[in-house]
Amino acid sequence: MGEAKREQSIRSPVTWTVLGLVIERPSYGWELSKRFERLYGDVLPVGGESNIYRALEALHGKSLIEELEEPRTVAGTSRQPKQHYRATTEGLERYAEWVMAGEREHRRRSLLFARQLGALAQEPETALAILGRYEQAWLDDKGARIPTASGFATRPVPGLADRLASAYGRDVKAATLGWIEYARREFAALTSRDPRRL
């Protein structure tokens, strides 16, 4: 592995997400693909188990994960021992940086949307229509459902990721609906049909 290859940045969110799963618990390809599907299947298509192995290869190549010394036999299976991976210290640091970068991108996109909507000041009816569709999309979104199954008991803290996602989703939803109402009043005031003017 050359230095140039190590310096190439990892662009695939699947690869970074696999790193997060390895950080959560040292594991191997098949188990990681199942955990990936369970936790991220609805928001991040992995596109086949082979991509998990490619991700592991990329992470290993950049020394973000390392092989455990001895392959482990997986409880409940009669198959041959599996090569397990664990995260390196650098892997943990890089993962934290990536998560924060994603959060910055999320905020950037939200600001972009708000400002681009603001460009419709001369076309408030269009802006109101966009807001209506935006609102309905949030109302229809079921992504923040409360997790009910303890079904992933093998996780270090069962259900934690699902509960965090649910709580985050509903708080963002409530805040977004509040913002939509604010924006709607701004644009309604630009039209002749502001109910408070009537």
Binding site: Q136, K142, I146, R163, S166, A174, A188, D194
Partner: protein, 239 residues
């Protein structure tokens, strides 16, 4: 047919010297087994909407129907017999025992005391607070108080449950459990209409709607498509 239906409901309130229209031509259907959440900011009219939907308050115009029958015509008789209503839970230093509070509705309907006690005990278990039946109402925490309020409604066997902001003031980690309780009641066939100010119930509801300036937005019937707010209440009502 929907169990609960609001047709073109309008409601006004006095605010100082003004008369404000709190509900503007609101139509809404809730079917058996549905959990419907209405989100709104403070003073959006969400509590008024629920009080009208439960038959606690009459609309100024329009109709509220339970199984096709006008709640306004039947009045308070409907409460408890078909429609259960839980107002926002306010902490009170009540010296009344929980079990007595829950069975009071049954006793008022002539149910023998032992039967009422057994029913109240059972329904407290159903809502997950069997352990508090001997406590005083004033000793309950917010989550327990909400569950007991739900029990008070459920003990009368309603087919529709209308509950105003059940997660307000409830500890963050307890909110999900309240929502899951409501979800389970809907799954048992009760039509549940809930108001929401913090987003707690929005994602687990079958339908979520918003209420602002007295105007209800979203999918207002189980079959209906999106109602996009392309016209404000002001213009559509001709005010």
């Amino acid at each position: 047919m929907s169990l609960l239906e609001l047709r073109h409901v309008r409601k006004h309130r006095a605010r100082g010297s003004h008369r404000v229209e709190v509900l503007r031509d609101v139509s809404l259907e809730v079917a058996a087994g549905e959990l419907v959440a209405v989100w709104g900011l403070r003073r959006s009219g969400r509590s008024t909407l629920l009080a009208v939907a439960a038959g606690i308050e009459l609309p100024d115009s329009g109709m509220v129907l339970f199984e096709g029958e006008d709640l306004g015509a039947r009045g308070a008789r409907m409460l408890g017999e078909g429609v259960g209503y839980c107002a926002q839970v306010v902490a009170v230093a009540s010296r009344r025992r929980v079990i007595d509070n829950v069975r009071a509705g049954l006793l008022g309907r002539g149910v023998p005391a032992p039967v009422a006690y057994a029913s109240a005990h059972e329904v407290l278990g159903r809502v997950g607070v069997e352990r508090v039946n001997g406590l005083l109402m004033g000793d309950l925490d917010a989550a327990e108080a909400v569950r007991v309020a739900i029990a008070c409604a459920l003990v009368l066997g309603p087919r529709v449950l209308v509950i105003d902001e059940p997660t307000k003031g409830v500890d963050l980690l307890e909110r999900d459990k309240i929502v899951l309780l409501l979800r389970s009641l809907a799954d048992e066939g009760i039509a549940v209409l809930v108001s929401d100010g913090d987003g707690s119930g929005l994602s687990d509801a079958d339908r979520a709607l918003t209420l602002a300036d007295g105007e209800l937005r979203g999918r207002n019937s189980p079959q209906m498509g999106t109602v996009l707010p392309l016209r404000s209440a002001g213009s559509s009502s001709g005010l």
